[in-house]
Amino acid sequence: MVRHVFLAVTIVNMLAVGTGPAYAEKATVGRGVGQFFPDFVLPDLNGGHGSLSDYRGKKILLINFASW
């Protein structure tokens, strides 16, 4: 029993640290926690378009908001 708990904790730790490939195999595209946020293309404010992938590489805070 104690060993099982230990094993479980180890797995949780591994997931938290995130060994890349193991994570990616399970990862899906979506907007939920743990998923890969899907790329999108939308109009920008200058009459053109832009996408999320133009800004990848850093931490991103994506805020949906409104002026009203």
Partner: protein, 403 residues
Amino acid sequence: MWQKITKPYIESGELTVIGVVQEQHPDRAKLYRQWHQFDWPVFVDALNTFDIAAVPIPVAIDESGVVRHAQLHPRDFVAKFMKRSYANASRPKNDKVATLPDPVQLANRARSSKTADDWRLVGDAYFLRQGANDLERAVDAYQQALKLAPQDGRAHFRLGVTLRRRFESAGRMKGDAQAAVKHWGEALAIDPNQYIWRRRLQQYGPRLDKPYDFYFWVDKARADIQARGERSVELRVEPEGSELEMPNVGTESLRRVSLINRDPKGRITRDASQYVKIDVIAVPHVVRPGQRIRIRVEFLLDPARRPVWNNESSDLMMYVELNKEMMIGSGSLSFPNPKTAESREKRFIEFEIDVDDSTAPTTYELPAYALYYLCEKRSDKCRYLRQDFRVKFAVSPDAPTLR
């Protein structure tokens, strides 16, 4: 709030902030951004393709693109996101870089699949392209979607957004604004919890149904920007009427507007060739007994013959014949003349109709007319004209409430 707490991390190069604004008018978002000095990119999701039901929604995404918080609270931003380190993760195989969708290709797919979802995507693709005639094509595609799935709330909402956009464009067609309201109303009836959809109707709706005046900030923004010595972003469509009017709070007594029928016998010459195009918009298009409807009547001078308003006489006025269960509560039935002798502006009259509890549920087409002075430049002829129209709306106990 986010502006302040994210700034040091943007400057240190650790963070990118991206805004997605849920707004009908992109230029208003641009003014808002300039006012608040957001130095991060903002995208416009007028169609709500994100399918969110509320704002704001701050999503925290790590360096690899993995969502770490789906609704991050500002107090957790530093400790639970910026201070955390996340291991590299490789992206799943089905994760693709998004490109501007090709509507022609999507339409081919929709024609063979015959699904509402595929037609909706065609509409989204045309709307997104923002090219000439794309609004027409988007309207057609959403209508195809609704033929296949009349209960597709998203298609209703997005068709409404597209029609409203067309109404405010050179390609405006009579009835566009009313049709937009109708589709937003149908979307809301399908999902009354969709806050973004509800807001779009409230924007143009009666004061009773508004939590606050949505675009109250525009004047303040312009003043602040000017005080900084900058030139503020110009708005293509100025907020007006219901968009600016203060909500009717609590027990504020109503200002009843008296109805004057200035031409009961119909003796004033009719504007038979329609020098003035009249468009009537009722928001919401279906109302419950005991509720209120906001009516907006727009008057546009015929762009081909280009007559002018003659402002040296009385104001443009209208009359509407109400049923006995209805009353005009607040608003005005005239448009005051500008100071210049002649002008060519779009005119509008906005007022609200109180529909009594005892009003029978049915469709109403109230007879109405407008009286105006105008001059035809070619012949230099000035005339006092009357044009008849109808104010249409429905009363039903099943109408969705806006509040």
